[in-house]
């Protein structure tokens, strides 16, 4: 029961809302937990046990870290001088590091086993094949949302280790944080303090939250059903039959897939955030007009923000402040100068982030390439920044002049489209085949001549009009006009008119009905 299906939207969500409201305040978090496990069971069946075990394990590690911390403080209180205190701290720090390592390794180990082991075996078999031997593949069931809840669990353990907040004593409450039903399939990846208070508060439903949540959900459905799902017929056809197309069709495939992915993922996140909001839970935002970005780095600050923040907090920063990088920076400054030290430090911190970002999306060389593609582009951006600034100053150019901004946005689009071309290609080889075939036999007119039957004129109209509407709303938001806020603050007749307009636009122009193959959530597969 995915979050965009009628079963979720018309039955499950309303039912949970009613039960939640009828339940006593103290039991409401329990209703949410039961609903979360029920939804999880509906698509991953007994693998819910793995989710439960992960929750219990994470909870246990948190308590262990807390206990070590408490014992350390007790021992320190008995100490008479600073030196003794420092030695006690060192002794307990070792235990804390051990607890952290056990926690992170077990969680990432499960993720590795489920997501990556067969990929590794597959690649080892290519080498072993030459020696005439093969390793058997492992039969693995994919637990829905494992990439999302694992990162939340690792983040929680790291934060408790860094004493950003105390460990949660209540197992059920931590289990709810890791399994909250709207976000289990596609995120956003939250940090414990982001949602924990609201999840456990058990506040009654109120009209303001219901209105906000409802508007967010129907807006998400509009993006997904009117535009994204229609585009998926085109992209599935073009990427699936990539050898039959070249030139302008490949560019069209890359652009179409990027729009599809954005509207599908941001639309689903709208449904997720809207569902959470109905219960008074404010989930972190995941998108902020990514196509207004003027550089690849800015794009990643606006696209899948919760994943980017996770890597920034738990990979990038820890590496940047690690003794190894600090030492290297110090030495490099003396040896090669400030500029090269900065480039080298950036490379050392960015490399693991982008390897991880790439493979987080899936076990495949194309995903690793996708990560490395952005690593190279971002590092190039870092290296070029001082040179760019100097050049602007030399030429007397204002970097914020509109045409330069537009050029930078267009350049970023080219980077994004190219990245998504590889991301959605059947495999890395197909990605290169598609990329190089852009430059062969390029005729814009072939789009009209060989337009695939997978998508009709009506679909194209719906996609274009729907995309323009989404773009206008995003454009206004980028320029400080909060359309959603204005609708929510309007008088009821106006507000309801907008609701009906969106609902009937979905019902009339949405890709649904018998015969339509429901389009699965793309990020639910990661």
């Amino acid at each position: 029961m995915a979050i965009h299906t009628n079963l979720y939207l018309l039955v499950f969500l309303p039912l949970v809302l009613i039960i939640y409201q009828l339940a006593p305040k103290k039991a409401r978090w329990g209703v949410l937990l039961a609903a979360s496990y029920a939804l999880y069971i509906s698509f991953s069946k007994y693998l819910v046990l793995l989710l439960m075990a992960t929750s219990a394990f994470t909870w246990g590690i948190g308590l262990w870290l807390d206990k070590i911390g408490a014992e350390c403080k007790e021992k320190q209180a008995e100490c008479t001088d600073r030196k003794q205190k420092s030695e006690v701290k060192k002794e307990f720090q070792k235990k804390r590091v051990l607890a952290l390592r056990v926690g992170v390794l077990v969680l990432l180990g499960i993720l590795f086993y489920v997501n990556y082991l067969n990929f590794v075996i597959d690649n080892m078999n290519i080498l072993l094949g030459k020696l005439g031997t093969q390793l058997p593949l492992v039969k693995v069931m994919f637990p829905m949302g494992i990439s999302f809840y694992t990162l939340e669990a690792v983040g929680y353990i790291a934060d408790v280790y860094w004493e950003r907040y105390p460990a949660e004593k209540h197992l059920g409450k931590l289990a709810l944080f890791l399994s909250f039903f709207p976000q289990i399939m596609e995120g956003p990846i939250a940090r414990y303090p982001d949602t924990s208070d609201a999840l456990f508060a058990g506040e009654p439903l109120n009209m303001a939250n219901l209105n906000e949540g409802f508007l967010r959900i129907i807006w998400g459905l509009f993006k997904k059903m009117v535009v994204s799902d229609r585009l998926s017929y085109l992209t599935t056809h073009l990427f699936g039959n990539y050898k039959d197309y070249h030139g302008s069709f490949i560019i069209l495939a890359a652009i179409a897939y990027t729009i599809q992915l954005y509207l599908e993922f941001s639309g689903s996140i709208d449904i997720v955030i809207g569902s959470g909001k109905m219960f008074g839970v404010t989930l972190p935002e995941n998108f902020n007009q990514p196509f207004s970005a003027q550089s690849a780095a800015e794009f990643w600050r606006r696209w899948h923000m919760s994943l980017g923040n996770w890597f920034k907090n738990y990979v990038f920063y820890p590496i940047t402040v690690s003794p190894m990088v600090k030492n290297w920076n110090k030495t490099a400054r003396k040896k090669y100068g400030k500029y090269w030290a900065m480039v080298g430090t950036s490379a050392m911190a960015l490399f693991p982030v982008w390897v991880a970002t790439g493979i987080w999306h899936g076990a495949g060389w194309k995903y690793l390439f996708y990560g490395m593609y952005y690593f190279v582009i971002l590092l190039f951006g870092v290296a070029m920044e001082p040179i760019k600034e100097k050049n602007y100053a030399k030429m007397g150019l204002d970097p914020n002049v509109w045409w330069l901004k537009t050029l930078r946005i267009l350049k970023t689009w080219v980077i994004i489209f190219t990245g998504e071309l590889f991301f959605n290609a059947v495999n890395l080889k197909a990605g290169f085949h598609m990329f190089f075939s852009i430059f062969g036999n390029f005729h814009i007119s072939s789009i009209w001549k060989y337009w695939p039957d997978a998508i009709t004129t009506g679909d194209v109209w719906a996609i274009c009009v729907g995309s323009v509407i989404v773009w206008i709303v995003g454009f206004l938001k980028e320029h400080g006009v909060d359309v959603r806020g204005k609708i929510l603050n309007a008088r009821t007749p106006y507000k309801w008119s907008v609701y009906y307009l969106i609902i009937f636009a979905i019902l009339l122009f949405g890709a649904y009905g018998t015969g339509y193959q429901p389009v699965d959530l793309i990020y639910a597969g990661f």
């Binding site: 029961m1 299906t5 009628n6 079963l7 018309l10 039955v11 698509f43 109120n206 009209m207 219901l210 007119s445 009209w448 001549k449 039957d453 009709t456 004129t457 009506g458 679909d459 109209w461 009821t492 309801w496 609701y499 009906y500 609902i503 009937f504 019902l507 009339l508 122009f509 949405g510 649904y512 009905g513 018998t514 015969g515 429901p518």
Partner: protein, 348 residues
């Protein structure tokens, strides 16, 4: 309960009520034939819409199922051979829940005597999708706005090329089946199509049967010849199912030789679906079976059925014109011709 809560509940009910009312009004307006030429509807609803346009109580046999049923049974051939009136109300990949409502809608203006169900539909099952349909199909049935919402596409798209003849589309493509001759021993089935009949499909069949029993409609289950979809396991399962439900079951796979099915000539996609050659043989078999075993009237010569004779002339003309091609071939040719004309004119 506070005054605010009461106000909120009233607002929620009012909002729901207006939505429902708007849907009812929109559905009343969205009768396909009210605003649009019925031939403009080219999606899976085309057959249902055209069925609704048939003169009242003129169809004796309904043929239900997925694409195996619609590709392998031509009502015009049955009319030519025996003078019995029939209509294909199936659709590609039809599931049992959709099938139930297809029967209900077909019987709004008709009192058929027999309902033929092609058995592959009974094997089609994927829990998630079928549970979704359990909720959506009644909604589509009650609110035609939802069912025919795609009708707006007819305004911006060119008129459809496909011609339906009482639910049959002519396909003369020949693509031989080159697999094993004894295909009943091969493996078939996938994630959407099982080897057994699910409890949900069995329950839906019971609903169809109850509906038919109340109207005196007799059900006949049959399996279309299809090397890609049938094997002995499925045929045995269907035989047991039909026995359990007390309905007649006819398997045409075991009778394929008697029917004279030539797998090099009678299939349009390598043994999956029948083409017109195959459909003629299937209809010939059923024509004889109906004449010998069922109580059907030969309507040929009856002036109130003259539209069938007129359509048969059109049907035969189209078969000749298509000259062994499929609609897709004709569509591609048409598109290329249009483009060449446009491109050559521009160059001039």
């Amino acid at each position: 309960m506070t005054q605010d809560s009461r106000k909120s509940i009233v607002k929620l009910i009012l909002f729901g009520g207006i939505t429902l009312l708007a849907l009812v009004i929109a559905s009343a307006m969205m009768k396909p034939t009210k605003w649009f030429d019925e031939k403009l509807i080219q999606d899976r609803n085309a057959r249902t819409v055209q069925m609704m346009e048939q003169p009242e109580n003129t169809i004796d046999v309904l043929n239900l199922g997925d694409s195996l049923s619609t590709a392998g049974f031509s009502p015009m051939e049955l009319w030519r051979d025996q003078g019995y009136t029939s209509f294909n109300i199936g659709a590609d990949g039809m599931r049992m829940n959709e099938a139930y409502y297809a029967v209900v809608e077909a019987c709004e203006k008709q009192k058929p005597k027999y309902l033929m169900i092609e058995s592959l539909t009974l094997f089609r099952y994927a829990m998630g999708q079928d549970l979704q349909m359990l909720l959506s199909q009644p909604l589509y049935h009650r609110f035609s706005f939802l069912k025919y919402h795609n009708i707006w596409k007819s305004l911006v798209e060119e008129k459809g090329l496909m011609e339906y003849h009482r639910g049959y589309t002519i396909n003369q493509n020949v693509w031989e089946y080159d697999g094993e001759e004894d295909y009943l021993n091969l493996n078939v089935g996938d994630s959407n199509s099982k080897l057994t009949i699910s409890a949900l499909n069995s329950m839906t069949f019971d609903r169809i049967k109850k509906f038919c029993d109340e109207r005196g409609i007799e059900i006949i289950i049959y399996s279309m010849p299809s090397a890609k979809n049938y094997n002995q396991i499925r045929i045995d399962a269907m035989e047991a199912f039909a026995k359990e439900k007390g309905v007649t079951y006819i398997d045409l796979n075991e009778k394929a030789d008697d029917l004279g099915i030539d797998w090099t000539q009678d299939t349009n996609d390598g043994g999956d679906h029948m083409n017109l050659n195959g459909a003629k043989k299937v209809v010939k078999y059923f024509g004889n079976y109906f004449r010998e075993n069922l109580n059907l009237t030969d309507h040929r010569g009856d002036p109130s059925y003259s539209d069938w004779d007129e359509e048969l002339v059109e049907y035969d003309k189209l078969v000749e014109e298509m000259d062994g091609k499929s609609y897709l071939d004709i569509y591609t040719e048409k598109k290329n011709k249009e483009w060449d004309e446009k491109y050559n004119n521009k160059q001039k």
